[in-house]
């Protein structure tokens, strides 16, 4: 996992990008759980993850953790998932 530069989120705010490409679940979810609490409330993070389980497990993690899942999108041709820190 590497933290890359800011990228635009759907709402136009800057987001941090968490590159989890090539990682098997649950590693992308673990990376997200480690990083999100370090961000300010309201900040958006984009997780790049191509494991087929990520599309299911990142929203499920958000629900279990009370974080806000903004949706799935594509970034550089790969699957990307945007999450906003709710608390």
């Amino acid at each position: 996992m590497t933290a890359a530069g800011p990228a635009p989120d759907p709402a136009g705010a800057a987001v941090e990008v968490l590159d989890c490409l090539g990682q098997r679940c649950p590693l992308p979810v673990i990376a997200l759980a480690r990083r999100l609490p370090a961000l300010p409330v309201g900040a958006v993070i984009r997780v790049l993850a191509d494991d087929p389980a990520a599309a299911n497990d990142i929203p499920a993690w958000c629900r279990l953790r009370g974080q806000e899942f903004l949706g799935a999108t594509e970034s550089s041709g790969g699957p990307a998932f945007d999450v906003r820190r709710a608390g």
Binding site: C25, P26, V29, A53, N56
Partner: protein
């Protein structure tokens, strides 16, 4: 000097994959081998004895299921029965339409039969899996608004969206509707009676995959086709049931064969069928008592896992569920690693996590429910499961999960 932990007594907790052979099945299998190797279709005396065995097995199954013997057919597996039910019923209704309506949580045998149907109708290679929810594979020759397969969603607990089902089966061109009686992955019992009523109102036959219910819990009436699998109720592997009610149009999707009324090609595995029928009779007779014994153990697993394992999601309906099956997912835990760790401690369980599947895709059932798919464990109990085994599992699980989380550096998240 190293201390070797004592070898634990193994606990087989995967009855939903295959239940241990019922003692009466073992006995019947041995006895049936004496006469059961003869081809029951022939016209000499030994063949007549074999045919009597086959007829008796059919009558037994029919009695347990409350149907006529000439509605019961033996197949080579539950999967073969599911394929035959879907493809044969669709073939029987081509004049009406080509759409299969199914729940998003059907067994893969039904999902794949639907994909096969869609691809055959379109005359193209089988399409890739789609996320469950609203898939619509359309055959090339079908009208633009008539998909080959419609998948009806479920809620977070895995229960069918009945309003969506009612609307889907009422569409024109629906040839067949398919609903699993109860989820093989999470245990949620489906509203079969209400779904059957919706099908009846629309004039659409209903196929029920009852693999996890037959021999354990009653299946509501109202269906036209049903399938089941003997090794789920304590019969031997290699025997499936296909039940086609009278008045249901069914056309063989296979090359013509005279066996089993033309519904299941090939010589039936008579010794296994005799054993399967004996096991079904025994399992049905014990079903109420076993459900009353196992359901509290399942409740105990649900409550204890939620209380003693941090960050766990216990999935499936908490009340309206199968008596013997319970599923949960542990955050930050690799499902395959969890199965191996449990196996080393003598626990045989299964998982819907992607890393445990040859396709490396998570279970479509867990996806359709939107519940966590990694760190997933399904525990399913049987007549040989003891309270002590369940308690040892519950005592060891928290430490095993904590150990795996520590290894993954996923502590305090």
């Amino acid at each position: 000097m190293t201390t070797v932990p004592p070898a634990p007594e193994p606990a087989y907790l995967d009855a939903a994959s295959a239940a241990p052979l019922h003692p009466v099945a073992r006995q019947a299998l041995g006895a049936a081998l004496a006469d059961g190797w003869v081809d029951p279709a022939r016209l000499y005396a030994p063949a007549r004895r074999a045919r009597q065995l086959l007829d008796a097995a059919r009558a037994t199954v029919a009695e347990v299921l409350g149907v006529r013997p000439d509605e019961v057919w033996f197949t080579a597996s539950g999967t073969a029965a599911a394929h035959a039910a879907v493809l044969g019923a669709l073939a029987g209704r081509v004049r009406v339409g080509a759409t299969l309506v199914r729940s998003a949580v059907e067994h893969s045998a039904v999902v794949q039969a639907g994909r096969w149907h869609a691809a055959a109708a379109a005359g193209r290679p089988r399409p890739p899996d789609r996320p469950a929810g609203a898939s619509a594979d359309r055959p090339a020759g079908a009208p633009a608004d008539r998909p080959a397969v419609v998948s009806v969603p479920v809620d977070r607990r895995g229960r069918l969206d009945l309003a969506g089902w009612r609307a889907a089966v009422a569409e024109p061109g629906v040839a067949l509707a398919a609903l699993i009686s109860a989820s093989h992955e999470v245990g949620t019992v489906q509203p079969v009676a209400a779904a059957a009523q919706a099908c009846a109102d629309a004039g659409v036959p209903l196929y029920v995959d009852a693999a996890q219910s037959v021999g354990r819990v009653p299946v509501p009436a109202g269906w036209s086709l049903l399938s089941a699998s003997a090794h789920k109720w304590g019969g031997p592997p290699g025997v499936g049931l296909l039940v086609v009610r009278k008045g249901t149009r069914w056309v063989s999707p296979y090359p013509e064969d005279e066996r089993e009324g033309g519904r299941a090609p090939g010589v039936p595995n008579l010794p296994a069928i005799v054993a399967a029928a004996a096991a079904l009779r025994a399992a049905a007779a014990e079903a109420d008592a076993e459900a009353a014994r196992l359901a509290p153990l399942v409740d105990r697993i649900r409550a204890t896992v939620a209380a003693t394992v941090p960050d766990v999601e216990v999935v499936g309906d908490p009340v309206d569920r199968l008596p013997h099956l319970v599923t949960f997912s542990c955050l930050y835990v690799d499902g395959e690693a969890l199965l191996h760790a449990l196996d080393r401690r003598g626990f045989a369980v299964s998982s819907g996590s992607s890393c445990t599947a040859s396709t490396l895709r998570p279970s479509h059932v867990l996806e359709a429910m939107g519940v966590l798919s990694h760190g997933n464990v399904r525990v399913s109990l049987h007549r040989g499961t003891t309270e002590a085994q369940v308690d040892r599992f519950l005592a060891e699980l928290p430490g095993i999960v904590a150990g795996l989380r520590a290894e993954a550096g996923a502590v305090g998240l």
